[in-house]
């Protein structure tokens, strides 16, 4: 008896080994290396090597120089998440409750963009929003845009690109959550004097919250760190923190600053996510 229990206990630990090794190699080691790099002396270079001097000022310097793209990233990420939520909720609701036999086809269509590369899809937005493209011309025609107005190289283009690229990450968890809602609960709310509007906010919305929370996290986190959209659809004025880190790392070869910024971004996002999940009252998601 005790023999089998012990056996089963140790089997569990053996099964953990591959996962633990994987995480140690590809998560713990890089994380350590990142934090260490962020404390190197900035006077070094990748040719001459860096010296570990616990140079905490790296963080302060990075914040002072790049607080604007940092705040911009958080704002763009938040806006894109909001638009994804609005669009995605309607879409997920329609697929879950109204699509009937078209349900699976519509889900495939939601995922279909993934069959093309992220980069190609973002580049095609460049064509869509081009200065004498159809969209800009139409908006100019109805005087939403001035005659020399443009969409490319504006925050609108970057946020639109982010919204487009991350929409499936919002739709899928929302769909999973809304699809699970028992239609009879909505009937019950209507039987208990809730009109469709009130019924939505008292029953459907709270029951879909797990999907809302995971959808917003899956959208917000990558959107804040994204730099492709800002680089392809924006101008230097729309620079996001991702592109700053990338250019510090690859162009300026300023590894400590790039690492410090990365750590700042990571800590900010983890802090915001924890706060958000607490507020949404769905700790059991994590």
């Amino acid at each position: 008896m005790s023999e089998t229990v012990r056996k089963r206990g140790s089997t569990g630990y053996f099964l953990l080994i591959p996962g633990v090794l994987w995480l140690a190699l590809f998560f713990v080691v890089p994380l350590y290396s990142l934090v260490a790099t962020s404390l190197f002396d900035p006077s070094g270079s990748d040719l001459n090597g860096y010296e570990m001097t616990y140079h905490w000022a790296n963080y302060w310097d990075a914040l002072q120089s790049y607080w604007q793209p940092l705040v911009r990233s958080l704002a763009y990420g938040a806006l894109a998440t909001l638009f994804c939520l609005l669009l995605g909720y309607v879409l997920a609701y329609a697929i879950a409750f109204k699509a009937g036999r078209w349900k699976n086809l519509m889900l495939v269509l939601v995922i279909a963009p993934f069959f093309t590369s992220f980069l190609v899809r973002t580049l095609s937005w460049k064509l869509l929003l081009a200065d004498d493209g159809f969209i800009v011309n139409t908006l100019q025609f109805v005087h939403i845009l001035g005659s020399d107005g443009r969409l490319l190289a504006t925050p609108v283009a970057v946020i639109a690109g982010l919204t487009y690229n991350f929409l499936p990450f919002m739709v899928l968890p929302l769909y999973a959550s809304i699809d699970k809602i028992d239609g009879r609960l909505i009937e019950a709310s209507s039987d208990l004097y809730a009109n469709p509007f009130v019924g939505f906010f008292k029953v459907t919305w709270p029951l879909s919250l797990p999907g809302v929370v995971s959808g917003t996290l899956l959208t917000f986190i990558p959107a804040v760190g994204d730099y492709i959209n800002a680089q392809l659809l924006g101008s230097p004025n729309q620079r996001m923190i991702g592109s700053v880190i990338q250019s510090l790392f690859t162009d300026a070869n300023d590894y400590p600053a790039a690492a410090a910024l990365s750590v700042i971004l990571m800590v900010l996002i983890v802090g915001m996510v924890l706060f958000y999940v607490r507020r949404a009252g769905t700790e059991d998601l994590l």
């Binding site: 009937e187 209507s190 039987d191 208990l192 009130v198």
Partner: protein
Amino acid sequence: MSQVVEQEPTATDSEGYDGLRLRQVTKSFGSFHAVSSLDLDVPRGSFIALLGPSGCGKTTTLRMVAGLETPTSGSITLAGQDITYAKPYQRPVNTVFQSYALFPHLDIFENVAFGLRRRKRKDVDTAVREMLDLVELDSQARKKPAQLSGGQQQRVALARALINKPEVLLLDEPLGALDLKLRRSMQLEIKRIQTEVGLTFVHVTHDQEEAMTMADTVAVMNAGVIEQMGAPADLYENPQSTFVANFLGQSNLIEGTIQSRAADVVTVDMHGIGVSIPTERCHADGDKGWVGIRPEKVLIGEPGEALDAPGNTIPGGVVTDVSFVGVSTQYLVRMPWGQELGVFEQNTGRRRMFATGEQVELSWRPEYAFLLDFSQDASAGAQKADAE
């Protein structure tokens, strides 16, 4: 309360009527008629059960009253108001759903308070406390539905609907998910609450015992129409169709030729044996009919044994099956014309049990027999055990 259910409903306007009234209500899904030209009057304060097998249209009828389905044609009025096309949230009707449909994200208190809050009632707190007290769940107020047992959830569902004091409370197979013992006690509980609050209850069920225990009027539905409606005892003792005779309890139905129709008695030739049936229990046109008799009304005795059944004695039976079930013994007796009849004899201890193969004589009092139309299927509504 003065309206009697069996009264032929007047097809004219429903304005003076204070109960629930359905007139010529039809619901079609494509070419399938779930409910066909249904007429139903439910007097205020009564407890009516719609009883029938699955697919008979009882739940569709209920959903039309709740506003969750729109009738294809016909009208529904409640206390003189036409509610045929009113939205569910606009009509003074509440439902206890089959699966309870409790809101999983709200605690018991908020589930029960839901209807009051939507209508911005004052004193929600007191009302909810009182209602939870009535269903004996006051100690569970802050639990979530998933933390309660099936029986408790059922009571929450009842409380959540009752607290709104609806004109009509609809119960859609509310006890279906409970085990037998709990179901029996909840039946009595719901009956008690109905008497206490005095609201109109419409109960949908496929369980004939449940319908008869709880309701003061039972409407037996089959294939989208009401076959017969009346007090449980009337339906059981004097069924008017083979479906009702078989669906409500069991019946022996024996082919017979009508010999004469007098003012108070009809005589029928049943495979050469003359039996008489009171005229008011005769529901057959034409010259043939099904003679119906409940198994527990049939007396079994040795050939020539004088039993308390003047009038109808059928000799020549052979016992083919005996099952002793404690309170009674159930016999199958093969008659000379080949048909097997069921006989229930109560275990009074005063009579001996018959064995398989014994020659017996069956008899019954004429006032217990009934005569049904020969055009109906003798097996309609039988085998309800499968539907369970």
